[in-house]
Symmetry: C2
Subunit: 343 residues, 2 copies
């Protein structure tokens, strides 16, 4: 590698000062057009590489934005990330990604690293049990935080997520309208704000329809295909014989459908299943999954915009912003089958 090319290299070659070169490369109107051109040409000729860390030392803007979610392999987050990426790309921000796998410690490490790198802001789907202090850590050091998908009690920062109670109620009502009364809720945990909201949506819908709520119909579990797949055994051997399942998300629903098919029953005929999120694959699952779109793209885009707004001084609205979910009816749900006499 040849000697490193820096501003002063260009300046010397052209007999100018580094001040002029710096201004020219950033298109300052202070520099004469002809000079600017000569400088830009020379920069390309020499293969000059802008040193952002030197620059950000002065400007205290690094162009780096951090994003932490539970698991980028989870398509729900992946869809949000894609929206964030395309929004940030547009304003030439680099984004640093990390999983926290619900480890508060891993998440804090990430925040600290980001602070060390001079991150301009952070978008996070907080790990279960995130203390407000970890959000404060970021904010107090001049790095604004935006929350997505989950809330943190006491953290007064912009938060974007789907209206879970409303969304799950949509799914539950859909099943009720098909005649189902014995409806299980499969997957997920009640330890997150999301979990409590979703359970509430399910319970409220049942109550409103005059159906008694049986806590035995709640099967918590991992929010993955594997989790849904494993829940099938449990689901099929429940004493209450549910005829339908409201699943925590599409992954769980697809896993559950697979498990049910393995047992020789047909989803969309014998048993109805709803998902949540409307991932790309919901539409091509077999049978095509009835689900609730949770506004991933919206959440990602809004979160990114809110952060960019904050960075540009216009104060984004703090507090909770709910995105309205939408029902997507497909083939995994069907009217309640009349139970044959030998049932």
């Amino acid at each position: 590698m040849a000697q490193k090319v820096k501003l002063s290299t260009i300046a010397e070659e052209l007999g100018l000062s580094t001040a002029t070169v710096s201004l020219a490369l950033r298109d300052s109107p202070l520099v004469a057009d002809s000079t600017r051109e000569r400088i830009k040409e020379k920069a390309i000729e020499l293969g000059y590489i802008y040193n952002r860390r030197a620059a950000s030392l002065r400007t205290s803007r690094s162009g780096i934005i951090g994003v932490v979610v539970h698991d980028i392999m989870n398509p729900f987050y992946a869809e949000i990330l894609r929206a964030i990426e395309s929004e940030l790309d547009r304003s030439r921000q680099t984004f640093i990604l990390s999983n926290h796998y619900d480890s508060v410690e891993k998440q804090r490490n990430f925040i600290e690293t980001l602070l060390q790198l001079g991150g301009d802001g952070v978008i996070m789907s907080p790990a279960i049990g995130t203390p407000v202090n970890d959000i404060k850590l970021a904010e107090d050091n001049g790095m604004p935080a935006i929350l997505i998908a989950r809330q943190v009690a006491g953290a007064d920062v912009p938060t974007f997520r789907g209206d879970d109670a409303y969304g799950i109620a949509l799914a539950t009502n859909h099943l009720i309208s098909l005649g189902h009364r014995n409806i299980a809720m499969v997957g997920g945990t009640d330890q997150t704000s999301t979990g409590r909201e979703r359970y509430k949506g399910y319970v409220d819908a049942l109550k409103k329809a005059g159906i008694e709520v049986d806590p035995g119909l709640r099967i918590p579990g991992p929010r993955t295909k594997q989790g849904g797949f494993e829940a099938a055994v449990n689901f099929l051997s429940m004493p209450q014989k549910p005829t339908a399942a409201v699943c925590w998300n599409d992954l769980v629903a697809i896993g559950l459908m697979n498990g049910i098919s393995r047992a020789g029953l047909t989803v969309g005929v014998d048993i109805s299943v709803t998902g949540y999120d409307d991932l790309e694959e919901a539409a091509i699952a077999t049978p095509a999954l009835t689900t609730v779109y949770n506004g991933q793209a919206d959440v990602g885009r809004s979160a990114a915009r809110a952060l960019l707004d904050k960075l540009n001084g216009s104060s984004a609205a703090d507090g909770l912003h709910l995105v309205k979910p939408e029902m997507r009816i497909r083939q995994s749900t069907a009217p309640l089958k009349k139970v044959p006499a030998n049932g």
Copy 2:
């Protein structure tokens, strides 16, 4: 936010020089133990945040490693990334992730950004059509590159990928041994080194078994579930009536299986399908997918280690390192069905 705490803040508070503080925080043996402790305590007390960009300006080591792949939403890459992440985490490197979606330009932008940030190295699954110069750009500026999953002609850097020809031959041979002779190859492109290798593996296996190769049995297409799903129509209406399909990867295979089920046929009975990669979901697909494990974890881990080795001066072996794939037989493949007389 209070006045920013820096080395000199700590130094002043304790009546020491910044030199001592700097050395102490990095555990230099030059500093007396008692002094080091006082300094560390003070640093915590004041909420000192290490400024990596200032440091890296001197040291020219940023602790940042870049990773670019086609699409992190693709579980194949996601599994590799997970292995890379856990390996890099161990040596306290931050990693910056990006998709290139096979845009050479987006990929180059990423490399440039990484150079600006002073990235220590880059791991990439190169975009289709990546010119050697883009690899050189990184290397020439002191940022070593490691390739995964795909090769770039003329780039003499460590490259890790599965042995595609061998792996696809495994799958093809498996189908041949079950009596199939009319075997289609579904999904993917022949524009990448991987594509050519895989097609070669398929062709060679057929030839070796004395089966004539019919180019009409090659159905290229997107490497996604959607792609496989859409290929089903095409596949089922082929004049050559294939009885089995070797798919580009598990996603295509799962999509194809879904498409075939939709058409009322049963995979694993009427038609045999093999995948490639052995993603987590292959095992829980319905029917469980026969596939070839492509060593994602190995590839990720080896690539990360190779990079870390290079950064530590021990020169990692340049050139191609092949990981041996392994057959995983499940329920999506079955012996050739005798064709009924009315066929």
